[in-house]
Structure formats: C-alpha cells, structure tokens
Amino acid sequence: MTSEIFQLVLMTVVTAATPLILAAIGELVTERAGVLNLGVEGMMIMGAALAFAGAYLTGSTTLGAICGMLAGVAMAALFGLLTIGFAINQVAAGLALTIFGTGLSGLLGAGFVGLKRDRPGHVHIPGLSDLPYVGQLFFGEDIFVYIAFGLVAGAAWFLSRSRTGLALRATGDNHQSAHALGLPVRRTRFLAALFGGACAGLAGAYLTLAYTPFWSPGMTAGRGWIALALVVFASWKPWRVVLGALLFGGATMLQLHAQAASIGLPGQLLSAVPYLATIVALVLLSSGARKNATAPAALGQAFIAPR
C-alpha cells in the first residue's frame, strides 16, 4: 500500500515538471538558433488564459490546447518581428513581452476567473497501466506528459542528427558565417522562435487544463523564468532539461508535503525551496562540465544582413 502512495507522489512530481519541460525545450531550440527570448513567462501565461477560454467555450481540451499554442505562437511572432525583423535588442523585447503577456492575459481571462473544468482523463493501456508500482507512473499519465517527453526526444534527435538541426545550430554559433554560406539566418531564427512560442503556449495550456483546471491571473508564478534558467544550467542539452525539471517538480512536492505536515518553518520559505534547489543543483551540474557548457556563440546578437 505504501508503495502505491509512493507511486502517486512520483506522479505528482512528473505533473509539476511537465510545464517546465514543455516551456524549456521550446526555449532551448530557440536559443540554439541564437535567439534569446526572455518572454517565456509572458507567452506561457497567454497560453494558459487562452487555452482555458478556448476549452471552456468549445468544451474540448484538444481545441483548448491548440488555442494555447496559437497564443504562444502569436506572442513569439510579435517578438520575432521586433528582434529578428527590426533587429531590436532581444533582452528588452523579451522583458516587454513578459509584461505585455501578463497584462493582456489578465484582461482576456477576466471573464473566466472562478470557472472550473474537469481534468482530462489519464491514458489507460490495458495490462501495462495496471502493473503494480510502476504501471500508473509510466503508462497512466495524462497525454501532455507523453507529448512533453516526445518533444524532448524529438528535439534531441532534430538538433544532433538532422541536417536542418545542424543548420539551426550553425546559425546560433556564428550568424555571419551562416549568412556567408547562404543559410537563411532570419528565417531559421524566426521559425525557431515560433516553435519556442508554441511550446510555451502548450506549457501554459497544461497549467489551466490539467494541472489546476481553472484560470486565475498570474498563475504561471515564475515558471517561465525557471524554464529559462533550466535551459542555461542544462548547458543547452535537451535531456538535462528533463533532469532539472524533475528535480524542480520533486522539490515542489516535498515542500507541499512539508507545509501540510507543518514542520514549523514559514510557508513562504518552503515555497522558495524548489526554486533554490533547482538552481543550486544545476549550477553544480554545469560547473562540473564547464568545458562543454558553452552557450551558442551568437546567442542574443541581432543579425543584420549586409546588403
């Protein structure tokens, strides 16, 4: 019986990690192309608001998730227009995107505060999902979890194996050389930014559709920023993002249980534990492998084609 409880705890860890994995893998691909989008939080919260609105109005979780992704894509397109089209400073534009997204999502979501939906059902594979101890954990999660891990595997394969992924990495390493060889620097970066937006939107959608099935303003609570930090400390390697996200999820659940058990520490302090733990662990991880932990060399630099 206790091991069944243990499995349920682990499942909540995965649930807490999933929005981070989704947002971080999108940002990772964006950054590997040389674009630093600090607006993850803004894209995520827009995704959360519009996903809930879409799902509530249509009654379909799938349509809601698509609405969330489109919201993220729209925000990323705005960012791409500014930073890739007009070569505006990426840091400033990213920060503005977050502030803009936070405000706009509050406005658009105002009519949906206090409404509730049902969580989507979990996957059930006869036989496998009923395995003792691990059946639910591995074969009985909700569909978003599998999408998140699929995206990580896909991104890892795309970046290291495919020719297009190679061109994307080259663009992030040295945009002058890439341009000199005739690679489409701006198009690659714009598409990478859109992918990042879609992932951030989906991460937001997960929050309002599956994690807490309601919408309230500001509910992303800094997860976008954690996702950004995960990408850096994961040394821009996809699978390390998963590691960091799971750690964050684990610490979140631990502190919730600690608060419930009232161990005598202030709740605010305990709420900060996952953020601290994740950053400390990832700093240790990346400092051990400094030689390989190089950022994409052209990250954050605007590219202006000499014509």
């Binding site: 890439a178 000199a180 005739g182």
Partner: protein, 515 residues
C-alpha cells in the same frame, strides 16, 4: 576563323561593367574582367579597393547595382550563394566561415546539397583530403584546430562541390610559410585539372608565383591588368597604391644601451578554455633595439602581451623587469609610470573605445602621465591639444575635428593609437600586430615610427605574424610556439625558412604535429 576564335576565347566567367553602390558610396565602379578555364587570375589592391565586394557579387552574396555577369557565355543571375555553388562557383573565405562548436564533417555537410547522413560524408572528406594531400580529421571540433587546418576545411568544403571556379580571399594571411607552400601545391594541382582560380591577395610575391593574369583595383576602380610574372613586386605595388612606397629608413649607426625590458622565466597558465599557457618565456631587450616575436596566431602571443602589459599579473614580481625594477605584480598604470607603453592587437574595443572621441581615447591611456588630470578632474584643453598633436604628427585622416574612434578607417585609427603611445616617448613599447589590416602606406608610417623610436634609445617589443614586417624592422627575432619562446636570432643572419621551421615547432627540437 571568327567562330574558332570565339570558342577558344569564351571565358568561363566574364564580368561586364559591374557597379556596386552602398548608398552614396561606390564600392565597385564599372569593373570588367574575364577568367578562363585553368587560369589563375589575381585580384590585387589595397584594403578598401573593392576586392571583397567584387567577389561577393560573383559568389551571390551581393547583387550588383549595374552590369552583368556571364558564366560560360550565358548571363548569370544569382539569388544567394547556393545558386553560385550549384553553377560551379566555390569560395574560400578570408575570415573563415566556419562554426567553432561543430565538427569538421558537420561544417562541410552544411553547404552540401542533399540530406546524406554525416557518416557517409566522412569517406568523401577523407578521399578529397587524400587526393589533394590536405590531412583532415572529420570528427574534430573546429575550435581545436590551427588556422592552416581550418583553411583546409574551407578548401575541402569547396572541392566537394566540384567547382569550376574557386575564389580564394587572402588565403595565406594566417598561414606559416610552410603551410602557404603546401597550399600552393594544392592550388597548382587544381589548376592542372582545368579549374579556374580567382586569387585575392596583397602579397605580391605569391601572385607572381601562382597567377598568369592580374587585375588591379584602386578605390573601387580597375586601374589596369597585367601579367604579374612580367612585373616586379615593386612595380605591382606602385600600380596598387598609385605611388611608390618608401622603404624603411634604418639608422646608419646602431648603439644598444642597457637592458630595458627583461622577462625571466615567465610562466602563466591561461584562464581561457582554449587559451595557451606561457611556459618559461625569457628575453632581454636592450635600449635602441627592436625585438620581434614571430609565430602563428594562437601560440601564446596574446597571453604574452597581457602578461607584459600588466592586463594579467604574473605569478611572481621578479619575472618581469622594466629598467631593472620588478613589476610582475604591478598593474598597467604602474608600468606606464615607469616609462612603458602598450598597443594591443585589437584596435576597436581594446586599444580604443569605438564610441569615444579621439581626445577621450587619448586620455584613456595617457591619464597617468602627461599631467592630464589634477585632483581627479580631466584637463580637457590639454588633452585636446595633445590629441591634435598626435593627429598632426601621424597624419591621421578623419572627418571633423574630434570624431568617434570607430568612424576612422583601420589604418588611420591604428596610426592614432600608435602615435598616442609613441608621443609619450616611452622607454619600452610593447606592440601587438601593429599593421594587421592596415593599408600599405599607413603600415610603412607605423613601421618607420617604431624604428625611429628605437633609434632614440627606446626598446620596442614587436609581436607580429607578418614576416616581411619583422625582417624590415627588427634587430633580433624570436619565435613563439605553444607558449614557449625560441632563442632569439639575429635578423640579418636568419632566413625566412629557419623562422618558418620554428613557427611549426620543428626548430625547437620537437617532432612536428602528427597530422
């Protein structure tokens, strides 16, 4: 008869009246030239003559404002380098268009059409490397390779596309004499296969060795063409610059004074990931002497400059002596106070702040001496007067009375930076790559100023990759290789080949790099 002449004379590539304007600036003005199969065609001219612009047009990176290009007699309109490559035009860039964090094979795969897996490409790379005798390891990451190896990647990448015309932009500027020799053997082989070469250089000896035709550009215009084998380097240089270049005037008598700069077994581990550790560097530099440090870039020269200038402190105070005073642990300002001056390699961002005016840039390095400050306030009148003196003495050409440093051309900014230090009459001047990317006239001015400074009793430590420059100005030359400094040689009694061997590490009694 006419038909026969035409088939024989149809050039591989023919440019007709090419004009390229950037806003009001005309980079190429009505340039026409023909390149035939199997021909090595040189494009020579000063910095800013429009050579790079012209080849970027051929490679599809720039669109001409006017004029047309014929390839095998048919008009060629290019929409990007992919189309140039598909037509059979390849290019080897001066500033390599490589990606440091990708492997050799990945760098090459990027430009090849199709989607073959990288593992399949490995064999083709090795085959080309073998055929043209250019050793290459497909799995190494680019950052770990020397300049010569990097260039081989560029060339192999180009050859894998089987080009009919290969453009080479200043290919030997970062190579040792031996590497350059190996490159010429490869180029001869390519020529023999009937491929055409368009060779950009301002090293005239190379042009005379390799090319049958030369087109000379000056300030965006074609000023002539000739057979470089029939010309001397001197006559080519005069065509290129438009006037004769003065030789360096060495002082008739040389008298060396006491020791001014001493490095005693200076070792310093590098802090950079891909840096070079200094390993027991010793030298004694007398007053009145120009001491040259040769070597391929990235063998510890920048680390040595940082240590001698005090940008990084040494581990012991006694490893660096200025006029007999130990300064290993003292900072730049203290060393300047003892009469030393420093000119780093990078003009914009290191020697000068690009957005600062020339006067402000003068203050940056001269604030300690020259009485430019009192009680923490700057005396701008004095600084302005001093800046104008530098500008006048070194003939710095600029727009406006006191423009921002970045608006000056490379040669003029370098003249200002060198002049700023030399007018302080330093006892020791340490200077890194003073004429890199500087036009010939400005380079001659700077070299003359160094020789004159030494004649007045100062010591000059000149770090350079340009062997011509070192032989022209130095009394003694030592070679830096992998952080170690060779014994100094008398510049009049050493050959370029000996220096070249030292640059590859052979003269240090070690085996050459195993490739």
């Amino acid at each position: 008869m006419i038909a026969q002449q035409e088939t024989r004379a149809t050039p591989l590539l023919s440019m007709r009246g090419i004009v390229k304007r950037f806003g009001s600036f005309t980079a190429n003005d009505d340039i026409s030239l023909d390149i035939h199969e199997g021909e090595a065609h040189a494009l020579i001219g000063e910095n800013g003559a429009g050579k790079s612009t012209l080849v970027k047009i051929i490679y599809g990176l720039l669109e001409p404002t006017e004029g047309e290009i014929l390839f095998r007699g048919k008009p060629m309109r290019l929409n990007g380098p992919q189309e140039a490559r598909a037509q059979g035009v390849g290019m080897v860039f001066q500033h390599f268009s490589l990606f440091d964090n990708l492997t050799v094979a990945e760098n090459i795969a990027l430009v090849l059409p199709g989607d073959a897996p990288i593992s399949a490409l490995r064999g083709r790379i090795l085959e080309v490397a073998e055929r043209y005798r250019m050793p290459l390891d497909p799995d190494r990451e680019v950052w770990s390779l020397s300049a010569g190896e990097r260039q081989r990647i560029e060339i192999a990448r180009c050859l894998l596309q089987d080009p009919r015309l290969i453009i080479l932009d200043e290919p030997t500027s970062v190579l040792t004499p031996q590497e350059a020799f190996a490159l010429f053997e490869t180029l001869d082989r390519l020529k023999a296969e009937g491929r055409a070469l368009l060779y950009i250089s301002h090293k005239l000896e190379e042009v005379r060795r390799l090319c049958e035709t030369a087109t000379i550009l000056r300030l965006g215009r074609k000023v002539g063409s000739c057979d470089p084998r029939q010309e001397s380097s001197r006559s080519l240089a005069a065509l290129m610059v438009g006037s004769a270049i003065n030789d360096i005037q060495a002082p008739s008598t040389r008298a060396f004074g006491g020791e001014r700069l001493t490095l005693d077994n200076l070792s310093l581990p590098s802090q950079e990931i891909h840096g070079v550790d200094l390993d027991g560097v010793s030298l004694r530099l007398r007053g009145g002497e120009v001491f040259g440090i040769a070597g391929v870039a990235g063998n510890g020269q920048s680390e040595l400059f940082e240590a001698v200038s005090g940008e990084r402190l040494a581990e012991s105070n006694y490893t660096i002596l200025l006029d007999g005073v130990s300064v290993g642990l003292r900072d730049i300002t203290a060393r300047r106070g003892l009469g030393a001056a420093f000119v780093p390699e990078e003009r914009n961002g290191h020697a000068a702040a690009g957005d600062f005016s020339l006067t402000e840039n003068l203050i940056l390095s001269r604030h300690a001496g020259a009485g430019l400050t009192s009680r923490g306030l700057i005396n701008f009148d004095k600084a302005r007067a001093l800046a104008q003196e530098v500008i006048k003495t070194f003939d710095v050409r600029k727009a406006g009375p006191d423009p921002a440093a970045r608006t000056l051309s490379g040669g003029n900014l370098q003249k200002f930076v060198v002049g700023r230090e030399i007018l302080s009459e330093p006892k020791v001047l340490v200077i890194n790559q003073p004429t890199w990317g500087v036009d010939a006239a400005a380079a001659a001015t700077i070299r003359q100023a160094l020789v004159d400074l030494a004649a007045r009793g100062a010591s000059v430590l000149l770090i350079s990759q340009d062997l011509d420059e070192l032989f022209e100005t130095c009394d003694r030359i030592a070679v830096m290789h992998e952080g170690r400094l060779s014994d100094p040689r008398d510049a009049r009694n050493v050959t370029r080949e000996e220096i070249g061997l030292l640059m590859t590490g052979d003269g240090h009694g070690e085996s050459a790099h195993a490739h």
